[in-house]
């Protein structure tokens, strides 16, 4: 159960496949996906709707829907998560691996103060901790994500926070246990652009200060270009291209990646005809790219 070698990958996913049984036969939402993340690294998973990127983030943590079958290997510092019991998995989730989702309002309980929710999440993973200690952790966590007057705000309810502030609360909660890996699924998609910029800055800062590894799932190519160092491009459940961020953005090899980059509207660019991605004209590879 202990890690074998200290220098191994933070996250190593091999041949991850998520299959749904449908009336028309099995359907792979994710097929033969490989992912690698070094400690402290930031990996972007990019794709359009239906690409399987969100299912990937869930499947890493064993949170895929019950109807789905997950195969392959997911190793966290060498420790295999596939096949782990639910009880063991629960100790990994929220403790060593934390997740942040798109919609902070639906992830927070409206009936409890944000402080209580952070405290409960924390104490769930730190059994011996007293309420008073957990309260201090909650305040520190809110300060960590630059929420002003944290000692007061900790007693407020979710609706008393703006969308951006709620996402900060979620990030604070996720980071309270000092996880090794943060999985953020479209964390800024529901936010205004000025707030998005603040949250992206915050994620960057946290990475650099704590060395937490980041898997960022998004449809937004500009966002991944700013804060990740490696990218996986997904389409129809399959990785069509992977590489260092600069490599993907300067010399994309797969026609789909090229088309996607061409389709992004540029704010600084003179306009021509936007190059639309031809529908269903993009070949997908069977195996890992």
């Amino acid at each position: 159960m202990t890690t074998e070698t200290p220098s191994e990958a933070l996250l190593q996913v091999r041949d991850l496949t998520v299959t749904f049984a449908t009336p028309r036969g099995p359907l792979d939402a994710v097929r033969s996906l490989d992912l690698d993340l070094e400690p402290g690294g930031a990996l972007g998973i990019v794709g359009e709707s239906g690409s399987g990127k969100s299912m990937t983030s869930l499947a890493i943590m064993g949170l895929q829907p019950r109807a789905a079958r997950r195969t392959g290997s997911v190793r966290l510092r060498g420790q295999e998560l596939v096949g782990m019991s639910e009880a063991e998995l629960r100790r990994v989730r929220g403790d060593r691996v934390a997740m942040v989702f798109q919609d902070p309002l639906s992830s927070l309980n409206p009936y409890y103060t944000v402080g209580l929710q952070i405290e409960e999440a924390y104490r769930a993973h730190r059994p011996g901790v007293t309420r008073r200690e957990a309260h201090k952790v909650a305040i520190a966590a809110l300060e960590r994500v630059h929420i002003r007057d944290a000692a007061v705000r900790v007693n407020h309810y979710p609706h008393q926070f703006s969308g951006g502030m709620r996402q900060r609360v979620m990030i604070a909660m996720a980071l309270s246990t000092e996880p090794e890996l943060l999985i953020a699924d479209e964390p800024t998609t529901a936010l205004d652009v000025t707030v998005q910029a603040q949250i992206l800055d915050l994620l960057q800062e946290i990475r650099h200060e704590t060395g937490t590894g980041l898997v960022l799932i998004t449809h937004d190519l500009a966002v991944v270009s700013e804060i990740t160092d490696h990218i996986v491009v997904m389409k129809d459940g399959v990785c069509v291209e992977r590489g260092a961020v600069e490599q993907i953005f300067t010399s994309p090899q797969h026609p789909y990646t090229q088309a996607l980059l061409d389709a992004v509207p540029r704010i600084d660019d003179e306009i021509g005809e936007l190059r639309a991605v031809a529908p269903s004209a993009t070949p997908t590879n069977g195996g890992p790219a």
């Binding site: 652009v193 000025t194 270009s225 010399s251 992004v264 509207p265 003179e270 529908p279």
Partner: protein
């Protein structure tokens, strides 16, 4: 300068705030749109940009007469349409149509494409030129849909195709103004590009006038002639697109532009060089 086709003058919209005002107290009112004025000339696209709560969508609804103003006027072609009655509003709807953000929630799931796109004419008791079938086919062709699918239902189409149905429905009455309320915001980037191109083609070919509501500045850059930046119910800056993007005057506009995530320009140049072609119609394509 020609007369503006659509003119909004000192628009104000207030909403009562829920739960305020007791039995004897006057209810508190929230001013969503606070003295907004703009003009759009025929064939132009005015983009109203802003963040959530800026009042841009409410402004669009006032201009399209989907909401009544608290005060101020909306004029179409010099005629005050602010106080039109029900019958006159029908005439107005022939001139001004709306395309909404979510095509699936704005299209009746139980109606075929044919029924959806001919509905605006049917509601008005107008004859469908050439018959419903032929009319639908020609509309579908205009927006890039396969005309053989006129008997299908919205759920049988992808998001981008469904938005084309929404556009086809707006075009059915041959309007002069189309209000696009976040019309491409919910679409995947590749599909979004197609729909933006479609809107631009339709404008070029048919001289349509757009009021384009969006929060995405990069999208606005691709389609706007003029840009008005809204925050807290007011327009803080308005001007030609390149002026607003190139030399923003208001602090809020600068903040908004700075916040947009960008792919590094040097990577963009490198990619264009590697691909051996100029990107889009860009001028500086050298590495």
């Amino acid at each position: 300068m020609s007369e503006p086709l659509l003119r909004a003058t000192h628009l104000v919209k207030e909403f009562p705030v829920m739960g305020t005002g007791g039995l004897l107290r006057a209810p508190v009112r929230f001013r969503a749109v606070d003295d907004v004025s703009f003009e759009i000339r025929a064939g132009e696209t005015l983009a109203l940009v802003g963040e959530s709560g800026s009042g841009k969508s409410t402004t669009a609804r006032l201009a399209a007469r989907l909401l009544d103003v608290t005060s101020g006027t909306v004029e179409l072609d010099g005629e005050d349409v602010t106080a039109l009655g029900r019958r006159e509003l029908r005439r107005f709807r022939n001139e001004v149509q709306v395309v909404f953000q979510d095509p699936f929630s704005s299209l009746n799931p139980r109606h075929t494409v044919e029924r959806i796109v001919t509905a605006p004419l049917v509601y008005q008791g107008r004859p469908v030129p050439g018959g419903a079938r032929a009319f639908t086919r020609s509309l579908m062709e205009r927006v890039g849909l396969d005309p053989d699918h006129s008997q299908k239902y919205p759920a049988q189409f992808s998001g981008g195709q469904a938005q084309r149905i929404g556009i086809a429905r707006a075009l059915a009455v041959s309007p002069r103004v189309v209000v696009c309320d976040e019309a491409v915001s919910a679409l995947d980037v590749s599909v979004q590009a197609q729909v933006i191109n479609l809107l631009r083609d339709l404008q070029r070919e048919e001289g349509l006038t757009y009021l384009f509501i969006a929060h995405d500045l990069a999208v606005v850059r691709q389609i706007a002639t003029r840009v008005a930046v809204m925050t807290q119910g007011q327009i803080v800056e308005e001007g030609e697109r390149d002026a607003v993007f190139g030399a923003p005057q208001h602090e809020y506009t600068r903040k908004l532009l700075d916040a947009v995530p960008r792919i590094r320009p040097e990577w963009e140049r490198q990619r264009r060089a590697n691909a051996g072609r100029p990107a889009g119609a860009a001028s500086g394509a050298q590495a």
